[in-house]
Amino acid sequence: MSPEPERPPRPARVSRRGFIGRTTAASLGAGALPRPDQATAAAAAAAAAGAPGQPLPGPPGTEVTLRVNGAEHRVGVDNRATLLDTLRERLRITGPKKGCDRGQCGACTVHIDGRTALSCLTLAVAAHEREVTTVEGLADGDVPHPVQRAFIKADAFQCGFCTPGQIMSAVALVEHGPVGSDDAIREFMSGNLCRCAAYPHIVRAVRQAGSTGRKR
């Protein structure tokens, strides 16, 4: 479950500070950057109080190409932005969840180039031109993935917040199989926390999906 790329991404077109200003509003989101002339109330108050006046310079941005669930997105990102926040806040792909933002819970699990990755520990720039699959991309048209069906049948979730991550891990196990014993399933699935504690039912779902064949 390493979030590290197996190969270094092709160098993304990293530009200098002025880059973001040249990016279209559409790709960045309108108003995503402070303009020098855009005095905020707070900044104005600070200036009035005698604080050093000039707004601080921003960090560099990068234009990346993200291939998510088969669709290509060109997006100008803050270099600090994670893949998770970029998916959620910029591309509005909100299946991957932010449970901890530091790789401890697994709710943000996606596949990058067919392998599980924690999108909260992956910078968006590191996913440049790589194939990203989220839970939204598992179904074949209207036909859910066998793991998705098995999760419903086994009642392998309650609140459902960890479920997108659980399912991405389970799909990796089922598709790369064999799923192995129940203990092996428990071990493999232990990077995905479930506070509702649907664990026994998750094991059942993975076992069932594993036995009905890897391919849909």
Binding site: G31, A32, L33, P34, T40, A41, A42, A45, A46, P52, G53, Q54, P55, L56, P57, G58, D78, R80, A81, D85, T94, P96, K97, G99, D101, R102, Q104, C105, A107, V135, E136, L138, P144, Q148, F151, I152, K153, D155, F157, Q158, C159, G160, F161, C162, T163, D183, R186, E187, S190, L193, C194, R195, C196, A197, A198, Y199, P200, H201, I202, V203
Partner: protein, 734 residues
Amino acid sequence: MAEPVVGRPHNRVDGPLKVSGRAAYGADHSYPRLVHGYAVTSTIAHGVIRAMDTSTAERSPGVIAVYTPFNAFTIHPVEGLRAPLQDTAVAHHGQIVALVVAESFEQARAAAFTVEVDYDERRPAVSLAEEEGNARPIPPVMGIPPVVTRLADGVPSITAALADSHITVSAAYTTAPQAHAAMEPYSAVVTWDDGRFTVHNGTQGVGLQVQTLAQALGVTTDDIHAVNPFVGGSFGGKYRPNAEVQLAAAAARALRRPVKVVLTREQSFTGTVIRSGTRQRVSLGAAADGTLTALSHRALAGAVADRESAELSAQRTSLAWYAVPNLEVRQTSVPLNTPDPTIMRAPGEASGSFALESAMDELAVALRMDPVRLRIKNNATVHPYSGLPFSGKHLVECYRLGAERFGWRRRGTRPRSRLDGEWYTGMGMATSVYPGFRNPATVKVGLRADGTALVSCDTADLGTGMWTVLPVVAAHSLGLPVRRVEPRLGDSELSPAGSVGGSCGVVTVGPAIMAAAHNAVAALLSLAVGEPSSPFHGLDPADLRYDSGRVSGPGRSMDFDDLLEAMGRSGVEALGTAAPGDESERYVFDSFGAQFVEVRVNRWTGEIRVSRALGVMDAGRIVNPKTARSQIVGGMIWGISAALHEGLHLDASGHLVNADLANYLIPVNADVPEVDVHFLDHPDTRFNPLGSRGIGELGIVGTAAAVANAVHNATGIRLRELPMTLEHVLAGLD
């Protein structure tokens, strides 16, 4: 009637949305011009903010506003809730002391890190043990005073009753403070548009959320629309709107822009609410045959400043569980500099049952009596505090069936008599009791010309299965297949059904669904005889019959959708209200269960593993066994977690040192054994017409004690502190 659908297993109707990423939780919402708020939290646990330097943050790229106690908008105080940024007092480490709002999350976060705070630091009260001398009796809760003493005629005191007992056991127990740690962090997305707020934020009740926020924001409830159909777990933590919701709403109004505030996981631990730790002493006296003669239970928990405590370990267990002629319960609290203690799954019962049920096991050991037999012997047939009978109590059946299914007779009676490789094995058991709460609710049911039905109210599904309960009960009442009923919930514009909490969801909403379905059918029949275009026009409504979607009258019968179409109607709908009556003056509506646990304890490392667990539950009529089972399984795993994993650690300065999901241990999949659940089937229509009782909290009650009792059975080591960690086992293994 069609085949009954209540009581059969149903897949969650919200399942397809949840497995595909299409269920939108609070922070999944976005709006044009949305901005991001990032909280700054205190680095001390007690003191006053002298000054803050926000100048760098204010000049940082993308920053729109920095709100501190020195410049923030007004948030009005709401009883029992801390109004954020309204004063400079710091009451605990990790308290929110500023909110930085910027165009992007990254910008807000970077700027937040530059905020500097100068504190006047004071000594924090952190440890329950050290503050025990400052403990005071709690204020009365639900009419129950903090100290309750019931003595048999002629007995001068509980001390005397214990002294006169044939045998006594007395021990102190402690439980750790805990975090709700729902997978969904505390978060909110709020828009303010033309004087009206729209709020997306996980909550246990949009109605209470709207009321609370209206007070905090100084607006009317009509000015707030809460839309929260999906909640990523709550367990009590999101019962009321915490700081992040109040801040997002106030900032949205101040900035005239939609605001999203997502607390980090660490902030979700420190900046919100917790379950208090407890210190308890239970003393039991018994006759030689095991009959209880005296019970004393003293419990101390952390409190908010006004001494109110949510974790009423003694009151919520020992006043209700066993028949005993001499009983004293003493409930005290002490304010601490921790995140505010609040309700968390089975508040009081979870911690109190650890002490009481451990003590019962200690008594069984002292008496050389089987723990199941000891409990059956002391089974209360009337509620010890109120003297009322139970509406339905089949606890003895739970004990007997559980013991049989679990293979209790194979349990060793001597510690360390069962060794499997390098693992000592043992079995333990405990009682589960959770009181029945029920609130009034109003539900709308509609029949539509497309042949479907609609059922709606403003209740919440926290993962509990309410999304499925609505159509199951409506389908049952209307004689329709579940798939033909569409549910709606979690929206404050729907009819009021109250908050969910205290395991009251199904028993509150279910009877109202039945009433609404009845009223919808009555409205349909009334239309059928009144509408000139109806084939039943002019008949007496009493001549019409509705059954399984068909309306029948003299000489003809038709499906309701055809009838609606014939009348040119798109549908017919009706409200139904159901509320508790005076039945609580005659009965007590507790749910019951018996829990059995098998553990393996490594003879060299002291590691404790739960290898099997069984819960046999007596909770009235189970609406959907599939989701009900999940709730009990989840509750039991919470109990195992409390036993072996969970505990917030505060250092001497009051810092929460394990405020993240790697260091605050909750079970992972590999920690969890097969958990078996069995429901008895005794509908309880004295409680409500549906015959159900609560199950959301029952599963956690007693489990930790069952684990501790199993550890004792395996090793002879009695652990009285939660979580039970291996250094304590090792100390006893010598």
